[in-house]
């Protein structure tokens, strides 16, 4: 893998653990849906009712929004803004997960920002453990490194049409 890329991968077990944790969080807070996004704007997973939301675009814009706010924080002498809140009929709460991923929660008047924020702390701790597991494995020769090993011919074929 190249020097600059986000080199990591996760297994079906990681995925189930993340999904289960996020589902529990959605039920506890009565939120509509949650997206887990990596810092480069790629969608890791979506849980809940995301019908009608272009999740790929949403993930990209969230990461950009978060990065821009991160820089704004630095300009006013803060280390970072750990969370962002956009208020409307549907509201969005965005929080940092171990400085690797971003958790985005979409909710409406069926719950309150207070409850989302309250439950968020425990959820972030749980996700941080999972993130650490994924990234520690990534550094020790993740499956990511091997998936395309020897696939040169297949890659050539992909671009020959």
């Amino acid at each position: 893998m190249t020097a600059g890329s986000a080199s990591w991968s996760f297994t079906p077990e990681d995925f189930s653990a993340m999904t289960a944790s996020l589902k529990r969080f959605l039920t506890e807070t009565n939120s509509i849906c949650a997206l887990l996004v990596d810092r480069s704007g790629q969608l890791v997973t979506t849980v809940g009712d995301s019908a009608g939301i272009d999740t790929t675009t949403f993930a990209t814009l969230t990461a950009a929004d978060y990065s821009a706010n991160d820089q704004l924080a630095k300009l006013v002498g803060e280390k970072d803004f750990a969370s962002l809140f956009h208020q409307g009929e549907k509201s969005i709460y965005v929080a940092d997960v171990a400085r690797r991923w971003i958790l985005v929660v979409i909710f409406d008047s069926r719950t309150t920002v207070g409850l989302v924020r309250l439950r968020m702390k425990a959820e972030l701790e749980e996700l941080t453990l999972l993130v650490d597991r994924v990234f520690s494995r990534g550094r020790n020769g993740a499956p990511a490194e091997r998936l395309l090993a020897g696939a040169d011919e297949e890659i050539d074929k992909l671009f020959n049409n």
Partner: protein, 223 residues
């Protein structure tokens, strides 16, 4: 990023280069040509005068490999010098770079400034441009004031010294007969250059050649 749950390989490619060089035009052409089912929306965060303010974004699927969908997220950066802070943000976690140079003779200084800015921003993240998928596109080849390619190559793609002795062998440029990507200089020093493409992005010439080349390099970096 490999997602085993959704069986996707996600890669981030950034189109870099001076203002008004044709980065957004590259994405617009790709958006217009690929089948709607293999691409997402083209998102542009632009000013009212259509200058890129933050970035353009287009997700495209380029096919399946080993049962995994290859999904490329294409981004452009704002080319104007003023927007360096936002430009740098887009480079975070990039997998491949396309430098879109403006072939017009009068834009050489802007090209050089942007290339230097690319190297600087990458190194601030600790990324080494010479060790990652990187291609150069010379755009606007149809304009009467377009400079000759060898001149552009000399200024923008002079090559970097190869340090790895296992790469000390001539590597022909697959896209230009008779030219080499890795070559030995008369002084004995080995240099490597980025693959380059000539383009007229507004008509679509060279746009897909550039995209295919950088995507292939990105996937090969995983192989």
């Amino acid at each position: 990023m490999i997602n085993y749950a959704s069986r996707e390989i996600n890669c981030k490619i950034v189109y870099y280069g001076p203002g008004l060089g044709g980065k957004t035009t590259n994405l617009e052409h790709i958006y217009g040509k690929v089948k709607p089912e293999t691409r997402g929306k083209l998102i542009s965060l632009a000013t009212e005068t259509e200058r890129t303010l933050f970035f353009d974004f287009l997700p495209v699927d380029l096919g399946t490999i080993r049962g995994f969908k290859t999904r490329f997220h294409l981004y452009t950066v704002p080319g104007q010098v003023y927007y360096n802070a936002s430009r740098k943000l887009i480079l975070k976690n990039v997998d491949g770079i396309v430098f879109v140079g403006d072939s017009q003779a009068g834009r050489m200084e802007a090209n050089l400034e942007s290339m230097q800015n690319l190297y600087d921003n990458m190194s601030e993240y600790g990324y080494d441009l010479t060790k990652m998928p990187f291609v150069i596109q010379y755009n606007k080849r149809d304009l009467p004031n377009a400079g000759p390619v060898p001149e552009l190559q000399e200024a923008l793609n002079p090559g970097w010294e190869v340090e790895d002795a296992t790469k000390f062998r001539v590597a022909p440029d697959p896209y230009h007969a008779g030219e080499n990507l890795v070559d030995q200089l008369p002084g004995g020093e080995w240099v490597e250059r980025a693959p380059y493409f000539e383009a007229v992005a507004i008509k679509g010439d060279g746009v897909f050649d550039t995209l295919k080349a950088v995507s292939k390099l990105v996937l090969k970096a995983l192989a």
